[in-house]
Every structure is written in C-alpha cells, then in structure tokens.
C-alpha cells in the first residue's frame, strides 16, 4: 500500500512540475505581448495608421506606407510561392511516390531532403541569395519583386510540406474509389483529393503569409527599405517588421517602434487565430472517418 501511495505522490510531483513549466511559458509569452502592446499603445492613433513615416533620424510619422508594402509583399510572395509549392507537393505525394522508376524515386528522396534542409536554413541566407540573384544578377534592384522572389524561396518549403501533409491526410480509399470508376489520376486529384485537402493547404498559405509579415532578414537585403509608399512591384519599400528594425536601430523613436511592434503582434495573433479556426474546421470535417 505504501508503494501505491508513493507512486501517487510521484505522479502528483511530476504533474506539478509540468504545470509549472506550462504556466511559465504562457506567462513569458503574455509578458512579451503585454509589454509591447502596453508600450506601443499610447502612440497608436488614426494618424499613425494613415500617414507615412517622415524618414530621417527623428522617426516621426506613421506606418501607412509600411502597411501597404507588407500587403503587397505578402500578395506577391504568395502569387509566386503558391503554384510552385502546391505543385511540388502534389507532384511529390500523388505522382512521384507511385513511380515505378527507381531513378524517379531517388530524385524524390533528394527533393524531400532538399525541402527539409531549406526549411532549416537561416533566413538571412535566403536574403543573400536573393540579393545576389534577383537584386544584382537579374537587375531587379531593391524592389518588391526581388523581395517577393526571395521571400518565395523562404516559404516554398513550408508550402510544400503543409501541402504534402494535407494530401497525405486524404484517405487512400477516396482515390481508389475514383480510379476504380475510370477516372484518370489527374481527374482524381483535381476533383476528389484537392477539394478534401484544400483547408490544409490554405493553412500552409496563411502560415506563409505570417512568415512574410514577421520576416526581416530576407527583406533587409532585398527590399531596400524606402519609407515611401510603393507604387509598383519595382518599387523599394519596407514592411512593418523592417520598419520596427529601422526605427529601433537608426532613430531615437523607440515609442514608434513599440507601436509598430504592437500592431505586428496583434496581426500575427489574428493570423494564428485564423489558422486555428481553419484547422478546427478541418478536423471537424474529417471527424466522421
């Protein structure tokens, strides 16, 4: 009986430690968010959102141009990354895995390894690559185009992996049913597999959008950092995250940096909530199987 009691105690001790760890990490996260929001809040106003930064050392002005640059960049990046990433994911799961040729299978293994590796590469490396290739060699200059291409390189591994996961979660029995009725593989993918996987794929795209919003290193060396409102994809610009960086490093407007940071944090929270919502709907949708 004493053994039983001791085991109960051990369990309670272990659970207490785990609860403490969980509480500490939640508290740390809340502290960061609260600090940024509280510090930044006094600066937030309608003007802050609707005027451009004035530039210079003062750091005066709002963030309207950086909001626009962020939106442009997210859209342009996803326009590039979505077809490539989703296409590659489909290719890997739906075609290559079924290939009979050993050479193709080796190529797929290599591609998977590449994707895994790219996902772990520090983002500044993508920035340097983008600078060398898009900004310099291809003469796109510091522009939304260069940044979007470099950003696409950064998020394509994410898109590929979430697409792969989404496709793999589609029951094989759906594919069999479709093929057994005389559908081709492509018809099966387009009409049965993709509709079932679309929420999972969307999650990956939103995740990528969040990544672009919060990324600085890649865009520091490809986007140029102009505080003016971008007018075309060849314009230079700065995203909100970059703006925080510039404000903090090159001006004395620490309060403005905090205010921009607060907007960013809230935006990221909203993006994550959307992802949660989608994946909850996703699991509700497949719950019957």
């Amino acid at each position: 009986m004493r053994g039983l009691r001791r085991r109960g105690l051990a369990q309670r001790a272990a659970f207490s430690v785990m609860w403490l760890a969980a509480a500490a990490s939640v508290a740390a996260m809340l502290l960061v968010v609260a600090y940024v929001v509280v510090q930044g809040f006094p600066e937030l106003s309608w003007e802050f959102f609707t005027t451009s930064p004035r530039g210079g050392l003062s750091g005066e002005g709002g963030i309207s141009s950086t909001i626009l640059a962020t939106i442009y960049l997210v859209v342009c990046t996803l326009v590039v990354a979505t077809p490539l990433g989703v296409g590659a994911g489909i290719c890997l799961v739906e075609y290559a895995d079924h290939s009979r040729s050993p050479a193709a299978r080796r190529l797929v293994a290599l591609a998977r390894f590449g994707v895994e590796t790219l996902a772990g590469v520090p983002s500044i490396i993508f920035g340097l690559f983008g600078y060398a290739l898009f900004v310099t060699a291809m003469h796109f200059g510091f522009s939304i185009l260069s940044a979007a291409l470099a950003g696409a390189c950064l998020v394509i591994p994410v898109v590929i992996r979430t697409t792969e996961e989404a496709l793999k979660s589609v029951p094989q029995s759906y594919r069999e049913a479709s093929l057994a009725m005389g559908a081709t593989r492509w018809e099966t993918i387009r009409k049965v597999v993709l509709p079932s996987a679309v929420t999972g794929i969307a999650t990956g795209l939103i995740l990528s959008a969040g990544r672009i919003v919060s990324e600085t290193a890649v865009f520091y060396v490809t986007l140029g950092g102009s505080y003016r409102t971008p007018t075309s994809i060849m314009s230079s610009g700065r995203t909100m995250a970059l703006h925080v960086y510039y404000l903090a490093m090159e001006t004395r407007a620490f309060d403005k940096a905090m205010a921009t940071g607060a907007v960013l944090v809230v935006l990221i929270i909203v993006i994550n909530l959307v992802i949660n919502l989608i994946s909850r709907r996703l699991s509700a949708g497949t719950g019957r199987r």
Binding site: H98, S99, R100, P171, S173, Y174, E176, A177, S178, L179, A180, M181, G182, A183, T184, E187, K191, V192, P195, S196, G285, T286, R288, R289
Partner: protein, 255 residues
C-alpha cells in the same frame, strides 16, 4: 454454360519477387454471382483487384498469364475504359465527402455527362437500383458521410452503377456492416445480377452459399502464393466438393 464474361488463364501476380497469385484460371459467367472464398491472405482480394487492374497502383507489381473481358486481353485495353466497364465496391464504405447527389454524379461527370437533367436521371435510377432512393430522395444535398454504414455502402454501389458498368467487383462489401445492413446488400446483389455480372470476395462462407451461383475456393501453398483449389457451381462446392481441402474448409476444420 454460355461464353464466360471474364476468363483468367494461368494468371500469376508478383509483388517484386514474391509470387502472390499462382496460375489462377477461372471463368466468370454472365449475369451470375461468382464468389471467391478462402482464408485471410489467400490472395482472393488481390485476384479481385487484378480484374480491373487496381493492383497497378502498387509499385513493383508484375503479372503473368491472361485476363480476358469478352475475349479481349484487359492489359491491352485502355485502363480508363476497362474500369468504366468493370465497377468496384470496396470493403469499407468510401463515399466522397460530397453530397449524395455529387457522389453518384461523379462517375458520369468524369465520363462527360454535363446535362443537369440527364445527371439527375442517372442519379435517381442508380439510387433506385441500389435500393437507397426511398431513404434519401428528400435530401440528395446531404453529405454522403452523414449516412449510416449500410446506407453508405449502398451509396457506393449506386456510385459504381452510375457509370453503367457491365461487371461489378465487390471486395467483402458487407464485412464492415451489421447483419441487417448485410442482408440488404445481399438482397440487392440478387436483384443486380439480372443486369450485371458480379464477382464477390467474402470470408463469410454462409454469405457465399446464400448469394452466389459459382464459388471459387482459394488457398495459399507452401510458398504462400495464392492458388485456386476448386471452382464450380456453388451447390456442388458446398455439398460435394472434389478436393479434400475444400471440404475441410467449408466444414470449418480450418480457416
């Protein structure tokens, strides 16, 4: 017996080096139910899935011998055309996560039917043929996944029928269902055989005895390859089997 609808001769199937089926020869007669029975792992499902070339989805599969449909080698036919003629119902009901209507309309759409009224007519006749129409006619927009297991399986049968196949392959279609739903499927098969040639794999010997006209008994040999032991009219297989192993199996001495 008239010309068989399908005929296999010395048909063997390999997964890489492993021989899973060993020289199976069966004649599948038209408008009859042919049951394939045998213990787990005897290759009966593999054999069934060879008849519409579903095994080709598995990398490393190789075949020898012949499978004929109406005297034509199925391996020389276009696989899309072949599967249009030979429908399949699977062990677990697998409706698409779409509405009942869209589930049944899927096949006809794939094969080029666009006209909405024609699609509706096909959906209705297919659901009637699978004895599901009366239960779902009021709400064809409901998700196929919202139906009960037995209803789902009849939906899958309707979906297969909508393509207007000539042969229907059923891979243990009732094994995931309760007795009442099973009975419904069996009654349905009885009706369907007027218009279709049916091949059913089942591990349930009573089911084979109840529904089938012909029975093939399969068993693995020492090398674990599936062999056909005996094939004939169901009544003869179950009352006067020629092979000792068939007798042992149907009398429940193993399996």
């Amino acid at each position: 017996m008239s010309e068989p609808r399908m005929r296999t001769r010395d048909f063997s199937l390999f997964y890489g080096e492993f021989r899973a089926l060993n020289r199976v020869s069966i004649d599948i007669p038209e408008n009859r139910i042919t049951a394939i029975i045998g213990p787990s792992g005897c290759g009966k499902s593999t054999f069934l899935r060879s008849l519409n070339r579903m095994n080709e989805l598995i990398p490393g599969v190789r075949t020898e011998g012949s499978v004929m449909l109406d005297g034509e080698d199925i391996f020389r036919k276009n696989v899309v055309e072949l599967r249009k003629k030979i429908g399949m119902v699977f062990q677990r009901p697998n409706p698409f996560p779409k509405s009942i209507f869209e589930n049944v309309a899927y096949g006809p759409r794939i094969h080029g039917v666009r006209d909405r009224t024609r699609l509706a007519a096909i959906v209705e006749s297919s659901l009637k043929a699978s004895a599901l129409w009366d239960e779902v006619r009021d709400d064809l927009g409901r998700s196929g996944l919202a139906l009960s297991g037995g209803q789902q399986q009849r939906l899958c049968i309707a979906r297969a029928l909508a393509v207007e196949p000539e042969v229907i392959l059923m891979d243990e279609p009732a094994s995931a269902l309760d007795p009442v739903a099973t009975l419904k499927i069996e009654e349905l098969m009885e009706q369907l055989k007027r218009d279709y040639t049916i091949v059913i794999v089942t591990h349930n010997m009573q089911q084979a005895a109840r529904v089938s006209d012909f029975t093939a008994f399969m068993l693995t040999d020492e090398a674990r390859a599936g062999n056909l032991v005996e094939f004939g009219p169901t009544r003869e297989i179950f009352t006067t089997p020629v092979d000792r192993r068939t007798e042992d199996y149907i009398s429940g001495r193993f399996g």
